[in-house]
């Protein structure tokens, strides 16, 4: 039964099978293990000691700090489109989960060691990449998911991450910034107008210079997150929870968005393409009043006010309102908010009512010269 020839065939078959398994297993090993943000996911900015802001930054996501308590510069003109957690239970739990996610990211099986090279002007496929010292991004870094919506990219950087001005991280073939993790051993600095994507988890400080934009998260474990006129949008990600299977729907939608418009929803939201102008018709006469109309792109809502008093709020086009001509000088304002990161603006329309509108002549005696 077990002749030597059979044994040889069996050994060859076993060897062949092991080779096949080896070929299958090698890419699987290169694929980074999922990092779970857990309760950190709603945050777009989470600081350890402090979060500071200068200028009209826009945060599309929650803002938090723990165990520190300092949140400065987040009144107008800055806008936070999300909850704020100042050293409360939510922020502390998020810090705890951040530590876990940071450690998971730091312990990824290595795909390639990029130490000593610049991240700029190169294309990387899914995997875990390491820098034994600091990392520098100058130019564009393209992350290619090869059509896999769950493709995960992890960058393990032992010390600092620095990006030069106008650098960018670009998603390709369905890559999702939600699945991009930057584990930084000390501090990170994003240069002016850098278009950054991914979840940046720094042990110490994170500094964003003027005009840098982020699709992802800025998460500092122990230090300060400082912003200057930035737009940050927390990319929606459910894929991490599903372990690769359950969360495919959102990623699929995003990749579908990639296929049609070339941009993910988060990328579209982070842009500032909204426009709005207000005009009055008719322009010449105001005997009865006039119609003020706001036109533009990506308008979400228009609130009309007459002399500060709210007269109409509209969320659907056409955005227009009839202003009755009143005596004297008046101000019509239209507060316009946009569907993307464009800053809300107030359009002003001053008008001076003509005498026509004034007049409902009062009764009086007829005592003229006739």
């Amino acid at each position: 039964m077990s002749s030597p020839t059979h044994l040889k065939r069996a050994r060859r078959a076993a060897a062949a099978i092991s080779v096949v398994f080896a070929f299958v297993a090698i890419p699987a090993a290169a694929q980074a293990a999922p990092v779970d943000l857990a309760t950190v996911a709603p945050f777009v900015v989470l600081g350890g000691q402090e979060v500071t802001n200068t200028g009209p930054s826009v945060l599309n996501g929650a803002l938090g700090v723990a165990p520190g308590t300092s949140l400065t510069g987040f009144g107008l003109p800055a806008v936070v489109n999300g909850a704020t957690h100042n050293n409360d239970g939510v922020a502390n739990q998020a810090q705890s989960d951040l530590t876990t996610a940071y450690n998971v990211a730091a312990g990824q099986a290595l795909t390639q060691d990029l130490s000593g090279t610049n991240l700029g002007n190169r294309t990387l496929t899914a995997g875990a990449y390491r820098y034994t010292s600091s990392a520098q991004l100058t130019g564009a870094l393209t992350l290619d998911a090869a059509g896999d919506p769950n493709a995960q990219f992890v960058f393990m950087i032992s010390s600092a991450l620095t990006t030069a001005s106008a650098s960018s991280v670009v998603m390709l073939n369905g890559a999702n910034p939600c699945n991009v993790y930057w584990q930084v051993g000390s501090s990170a600095t994003l240069g002016s107008t850098t278009a950054f994507q991914g979840n940046l988890m720094a042990l110490s400080d994170i500094s964003l210079n003027n005009g840098a934009t982020v699709i992802g998260r800025m998460l500092a474990r122990n230090g300060t997150v400082s912003l200057i006129n930035n737009v940050l949008t927390a990319s929606s990600c459910d894929t991490g929870d599903g372990g690769g299977g359950g969360g495919g729907a959102d990623s699929g939608d995003d990749s579908g968005g990639n296929g049609t418009g070339g941009l993910t929803r988060a990328q579209r939201l982070a842009r500032r393409n909204g426009t709005a102008t207000v005009r009055r018709t008719p322009r010449e006469t105001c005997t009865e009043g006039f119609r003020a109309r706001v036109r533009g792109h990506l308008i979400e809502r228009v609130v009309f006010r007459l002399d500060g008093k709210r007269i109409s709020s509209q969320a659907k086009s056409p955005f227009r309102v009839l202003i009755r001509a009143l005596p004297g000088r008046h101000n019509v304002t239209a507060r316009v908010t946009f569907r993307d990161a464009t800053r809300a603006k107030t359009l002003r329309l001053r008008y001076r009512a003509c005498a026509a509108a004034v007049l409902q002549p009062r009764r009086g005696p007829s005592q003229f010269t006739g």
Binding site: A355, A356, R362, P365, Q367, T369, G370
Partner: protein, 239 residues
């Protein structure tokens, strides 16, 4: 070499264009140029009128914050402004009543700035009222003006107040002006005030000179005006 030819050709084109424009005779082009708007001041309080922008200057008269016939706010055309060394602001205004077209200075304190884009011009020679808005002719109405013995005064005036006379004589509306008759010091219990009003209960064909000094307009015309012309609107009456 070719310049004279070009010049003459240009001249021909311009002449042709001019000739073509004249018969069109747009209302805008035909009327005299008038300012597109007139600055006004609304009195929020009674004011003392002085001859110069100075607290010690001669006191001319007193002007009330309310008009006597309907009780609306007094609105006066602004002719200029001044600020004293002490920082006081003064407004040079045209005043109602006699002598016709007189002016004076009031404190800017307790006044409110406004303006109007309307303007009325009455030409006695052709007995027409021309209505301007933003410096452009909006309407022309035939009118009855004063007889030679009770002429309509000429000069620069303004509308003091608009009245709803309904079915009273001279109705349905009247625009009481700052002008006063030079002949009749008193009429029907009033001070000889000149008004633009309707023809209720009055005779005289439009385009004639048969009134006691007032300007009579057709019912449609005075109704149109009464719904547009408010206090302070300048009125120029020229011969």
């Amino acid at each position: 070499m070719s310049h004279p030819v070009r010049v003459s050709a240009l001249a021909v084109v311009l002449l042709a264009a001019t000739a073509a424009c004249v018969p069109v005779g747009s209302a805008h082009a035909a009327g005299p140029r008038v300012a597109p708007s007139q600055r006004l001041v609304v009195l929020l309080h009674d004011h003392v009128v002085r001859a110069r922008p100075n607290r010690t200057a001669q006191r001319i008269e007193w002007v009330g914050a309310w008009r006597p016939l309907t009780g609306v706010r007094t609105v006066l055309p602004v002719l200029g402004r001044a600020r004293t060394r002490g920082g006081q602001s003064w407004v040079h205004v045209r005043l109602p009543g006699r002598p016709n077209g007189h002016e004076g200075w009031i404190r800017a304190y307790r006044t409110k700035r406004t303006s109007t884009e309307w303007r009325l011009v009455l030409t006695l020679s052709n007995r027409r009222v021309t209505v301007y808005h933003h410096g452009r002719v909006m309407r022309r109405f035939p009118a009855v003006v004063g007889t030679p013995s009770t002429p309509t005064p000429t000069g620069r005036f303004f509308i003091e107040e608009a009245l709803d006379l309904s079915s009273q004589v001279g109705g349905p509306f009247a625009l009481a002006t700052s002008a006063r008759s030079e002949v009749l010091q008193e009429f029907e219990g009033g001070p000889g005030q000149i008004a633009l009003h309707g023809t209720n209960g009055l005779s005289g064909a439009l385009g004639s000179a048969s009134s006691h000094g007032c300007v009579r307009l057709g019912t449609g015309a005075i109704t149109w005006l009464a719904h547009r012309i408010g206090s302070g609107v300048p009125l120029t009456i020229k011969s």
